[in-house]
Amino acid sequence: MRPSVALLRKDLLLERRAPEAVPAMLLFSLTTFVLFHFGLGRDEVSGQMAAGVLLVTLLFAAILGINRLFVSEQEEGGFDGVLLAPIDRTALFVAKAAGLFLFLSLVEIVAVAAFAILLLGPSPWPALPGLLLTLALLNAALAVVGALVSALAIRTRARDLIVPIVALPLLTPALIAAARLAAPLFAAGGAQALPTKWLAVLALYDLVFGLLAYAVFDFLLED
């Protein structure tokens, strides 16, 4: 546990001193909302379309963050450090996933507010508790899959190209579940109850991929 916490603290410190990932993801989300306004030709969205616009934007913003996740490890010898230190190598995975989760949460706080102001038709307040739960589960999925795919891609030649084409299909079930969860929240007539079936699907996805990624991450670091 302590190595993961140490690694996580290092990442948070780096991001606080020289913020690059969080502002970039945030700006990207806001710009994408504007693009959607012009692309869809609509002043406001509700229901399934609102869920789709918000979640796809967050997904693409997350890809930006995932691309950059292991860059400092690759360039400054962090991988060797983890290999040499007497720690469990999956501590790196846990730290990176947790870091990505926190960065995504930070981005979402502002991005969802911007979405509510810019594009969302119905009032966001009644949707908030359900939305928090949905986004928390989605962030977990993004964090787990993102950390693994990022580690996989960073040591290939075509890193930035590999991450989107591998991560996005892998994340499709999570997106399906999150979209089905968010759609009733943004319903035009007022927020409705969360369909628990999809909560279960998303939680199951998180669990399965979390365990799987935890199990195979070691093999990426062997050298």
């Binding site: 996989l152 040591r155 591998v166 892998l170 079930p173 399906i176 799987l212 195979v216 990426l220």
Partner: protein, 263 residues
């Protein structure tokens, strides 16, 4: 060597495929709802089943490779996924033809099998580019195995999720005759699935035999004509087991410590 079983396997596959086609056109009854179009299903569905099982099998082989560090399992995993990708394309093509025949559109989002098929295709289509972008053969095998394990676990999850998300307005052919296939149709399906599975196994065996023969030829050439007569294989996505191991080129910018300060 794989040569011995190949002839028997080829004959069995040919027989099974011929039997399937004969049964489909002369024995299987016409479907009550879809009519003659339903015959496409005898190709589309077995191909789909074999493809999905093959992807999972590729994941299993990859897991075995990770555990045993035996590159032979990586070769098997690679070939299985490669052939499964071809089957996947055939499944999508036949599925599109069936959609056009049934509903007039080349693509329908209502069919969960087709949709999850497309997603799985998009995922596994990245397998070869991923392998190609890693030069060190051992690391290529290991990273590809990690990918194959994740993707293999993804296949059933994805199938279930898409199925749950798709509101099937159109009655599914399997269930139209009130609670399952009549026994005649079921028999033809079973034969068709067996035939597709045999075809898949045959193509995998051919691939592996071809690769092994090529490596043996190269090794012979090296011994007869000297190492200079044999051009190195160069970058490739496929595992190369019979080649002399090249020293792994260090990827640029990997783990460089700050230079020692001059004393």
């Amino acid at each position: 060597m794989y040569g011995k079983g190949l002839r028997a396997l080829s004959l069995a596959t040919f027989a099974a495929l011929t039997a399937t086609f004969a049964l489909v056109f002369f024995y299987a009854p016409l479907d009550a709802d879809q009519g003659f179009i339903q015959k496409i299903f005898y190709v589309h569905v077995p191909v789909a089943i074999v493809t999905l099982c093959a992807y999972v099998l590729g994941g299993i082989f990859a897991a075995i490779h990770l555990k045993t560090h035996d590159r032979g399992w990586d070769l098997r995993s690679y070939v299985v996924i490669h052939i499964a990708l071809i089957f996947n394309v055939v499944g999508l093509l036949t599925g599109a033809i069936w959609a056009k025949a049934s509903w007039g559109h080349w693509w329908v989002w209502d069919e969960p099998t087709l949709v999850s098929f497309l997603i799985v295709f998009l995922l596994f289509a990245t397998y070869q580019p991923l392998r190609f972008s890693i030069e060190d053969p051992e690391r290529q095998a290991r990273y590809a195995a990690v990918f194959a394990v994740m993707a293999g676990a993804f296949v059933p999850l994805n199938f279930a999720a898409v199925r749950a998300a798709t509101a099937t307005v159109h009655p599914r052919t399997f269930g139209t005759t009130g609670g399952g296939l009549p026994s005649q149709m079921a028999w033809v399906f079973v034969v068709a699935i067996v035939a597709m599975a045999l075809l898949f196994a045959l193509m995998c065996c051919y691939e592996i035999a071809a690769k092994q023969t090529r490596w043996q030829l190269r090794a012979l050439r090296r011994r007869l004509l000297g190492s200079d007569a044999v051009a190195p294989l160069g970058r490739s996505a496929a595992p190369a087991l019979g080649e002399p191991s090249r020293s792994a080129p260090r990827e640029s910018g990997r783990g460089s410590y700050p230079a020692e300060a001059p004393s």
